[in-house]
């Protein structure tokens, strides 16, 4: 038998092992579960179940007594600034700022963006009613709605989950699969046979990375297409998924070689997953954020996809995320090479 290119054989071997370990079915099952969740379980829009905050900026404070009488005492705020802060904290609340006077009755309704239109029409009616209670109006009430984040029309509630669900497999589960493969090879001892083969460390690393990237692409493609549809952003999203899968495999290899078994590694995995989840929390609760989050591998994926699909108009953001990922890949690939060579390719570890 004459052949060449150990990478090709290692890749086929890793794919066969991944398949027989059932990882492909886990990925397919997870994709199916999340597709069903997004399409059928999560609502497109949230009902307005939250509070309504009011600010009375009318001449002579015409509205405040009426609001207090109507039971809004606790929801009355002193300024627009306080209102903005309250709405940032409570992502299901809306706010109304009353302005003007009886001659020019006005109101501004601040909304998060995912409120059903029916609920908003009800709120508009309530605003008019409150003004009418304030006395004889010379002109009809003029009002307008404003989104809290003007550049971003909030995506449908259910589709807003897609970036996070995509990151779940690509960044968290995929990396765990790679570690499991390494520990399986240690346990079986098959890594000892590899150590005394002519194949080097690079084909070993690149094969593991390729397998995980392929799983990431399969999962990403299915989740994206069956939730958001065949959209032009798909290739760019898959590129992000592939780079994140690449990065996380290198990261996983770098760390897992220091441990003897999967049971030892589980505790570390818990810490890693917690750190990787921080940008996901930040995605849902923007107030929970820190500058360094951008360097956590899940950040570029989650926020890059959001920017691609639900654009907030940040110019160059996607490219910036790609560059961050590329830089992190270079660093972690070098680290993976060193740790795999020193810890995995030698005896006694």
């Amino acid at each position: 038998m004459m052949k060449g290119g150990s990478f090709r054989y290692l890749l086929r071997q890793d794919m066969a092992v991944v398949h027989r370990n059932g990882y492909v079915y886990v990925v397919l099952g997870l994709a199916a579960l999340f597709i069903l969740l997004v399409n059928f379980a999560l609502p497109k829009q949230l009902e307005v179940t939250g509070r309504e905050y009011l600010v009375d900026l009318t001449a002579g404070q015409l509205i405040a007594p009426i609001a207090r009488e109507a039971g809004f005492e606790e929801h009355m705020l002193a300024s627009e600034e306080e209102l903005q802060q309250a709405l940032e904290r409570d992502r299901q609340a809306v706010g109304v700022v009353f302005r003007g006077n009886r001659e020019h009755p006005q109101a501004v309704i601040y909304r998060q963006g995912n409120e059903p239109e029916k609920a908003m029409r009800g709120l508009e009616a309530a605003v008019i009613s409150i003004w009418n209670t304030a006395g004889d109006l010379e002109q009809p009430v003029t009002y307008r709605q404003e989104l809290l984040r003007p550049a971003s029309e909030k995506p449908p509630f259910n589709l807003g989950f897609v970036p996070v669900l995509l990151a779940f497999e690509v960044a968290l589960l995929g990396a765990f699969f790679v570690s499991a493969l390494v520990f399986q090879e240690k346990e079986e001892g098959s890594i000892r046979a590899f150590r005394v083969s002519p194949a080097g460390t690079w084909p070993y690393i690149l094969s593991k990375i390729t397998v995980n990237v392929l799983l990431s692409l399969l999962y990403g493609f299915l989740l994206f297409v069956f939730t958001l549809g065949l959209r032009p952003e798909l290739p760019a999203v898959l590129l992000l998924a592939a780079l994140t899968g690449f990065l996380m495999t290198a990261f996983s290899l770098t760390i897992s070689v220091f441990f003897k078994s999967l049971s030892e590694f589980v505790y570390v995995t818990a810490v890693i997953m917690t750190v990787l989840s921080l940008p996901m929390v930040s995605y849902f609760v923007p107030a929970f954020s820190a500058a360094y989050f951008v360097f956590i591998p899940t950040y570029p994926l989650v926020f890059g996809i959001r920017e691609l699909v639900f654009s907030t108009g940040k110019t160059g953001f996607y490219l910036q995320m790609l560059l961050i990922l590329a830089a992190e890949i270079l660093v972690l690939l070098a680290l993976a090479r060193i740790t795999v060579e020193r810890k995995l390719m030698r005896e006694g570890h």
């Binding site: 038998m1 004459m2 052949k3 060449g4 290119g5 150990s6 090709r8 054989y9 290692l10 086929r12 071997q13 066969a16 092992v17 027989r20 370990n21 090879e185 079986e188 001892g189 098959s190 890594i191 000892r192 046979a193 590899f194 150590r195 005394v196 083969s197 002519p198 194949a199 080097g200 030698r346 005896e347 006694g348």
Partner: protein, 284 residues
């Protein structure tokens, strides 16, 4: 030519060195047996020789070159069969060989042919995880010879095999030697070592206590004796005679003249007996 000089290795936190100043040479196309009980340091020496452990002191030279100078491609010329079978359990026997063969940049033997050679042709499409220990051992052995190695490291190659299968493996080892392979055989099976090895080294507590050809060791440490079974008053009796002693030589002549001898065997020391004599302990 493989030359090992003053090899010493001390595992971290171990009370004593695993290997102490081990030196030996293996000529091209020879079988070198490394004999000793479990924990004597055999595997440590082998691991240093194949580059899995660094030599803390001393060196291993292949045609006067260190393994680090030879690079990864050196393993195109090497085959290693491990004592503990290490295969991908979720791949079939055939796949294990096929994918491993792909790592070499030299021609390799067809995996199906290899399976046939070691008696696993019928099990080639079963997952290796379903194999018995002996079957896995044979699979690992087949993997070690698939690149027609110039240097073959065999660690207990017949361990756990039934006599017929063990014979098959021993014959392959002899064929490998005849092909020109240099073989480093680690074992505690003295019969295997006696049959196969050109030279054997006894290792105990990390030190090589003696090394020579099995014949020379037997001559050096064995006694020249003859075990005779003869008939005396209708009963078969046995006597051990040392022909170098005049009285024993006379008795042997007498028995032969009287035509009383039924069987006669020369008696020589086994390698195991020599090992015990040298180290004061057995090989188990």
């Amino acid at each position: 030519m493989i030359r090992v000089e003053d090899l010493t290795f001390h595992y971290p936190r171990a009370a004593a060195p695993a290997v102490r100043e081990a030196s030996f040479e293996i000529g091209r196309g020879r079988i070198f047996g490394f004999l000793g009980p479990s924990g004597a340091g055999k595997s440590t020496v082998q691991n240093i020789m194949i580059g899995l452990l660094p030599a803390q002191k001393g060196k291993v030279l292949y045609d006067n070159k260190k393994i680090v100078e030879l690079g990864k491609s050196f393993f195109n010329r090497v085959g290693v069969s491990f004592e503990h079978p290490n295969v991908y359990e979720k791949l079939t026997g055939l796949e294990n060989l096929k994918y491993y063969g792909g790592l070499f940049s030299v021609p390799t033997i067809n995996p199906e042919r290899l399976l046939e050679m070691v008696g696993l042709a019928d099990a080639g499409r079963k997952w290796a995880g379903q194999y018995s220990k002996g079957m896995k051992q044979r699979l690992v052995f087949a993997r070690a010879i698939m690149n027609r190695p110039e240097i073959l490291f065999l660690d207990e190659p017949t361990s756990g095999l039934d006599p017929t299968t063990a014979r098959k493996i021993l014959n392959i080892i002899i064929a490998e030697k005849n092909r020109g392979a240099t073989i480093f055989l680690t074992t505690h099976n003295m019969l295997v070592a006696d049959e196969l090895c050109d030279t054997v080294a006894f290792i105990n507590e990390g030190q090589i206590v003696n090394q020579d050809s099995p014949r020379n060791l037997k001559l050096q440490y064995g006694q020249k004796a003859v075990k005779v079974e003869y008939r005396n008053n209708g009963k078969v009796e046995t006597v051990l005679l040392f022909p170098e002693k005049p009285e024993d030589r006379d008795q042997l002549n007498h028995l032969m003249e009287q035509r009383k001898v039924e069987t006669m065997h020369s008696q020589e020391a086994t390698l195991e007996q020599i090992f015990i004599k040298l180290t004061g302990r057995g090989l188990a």
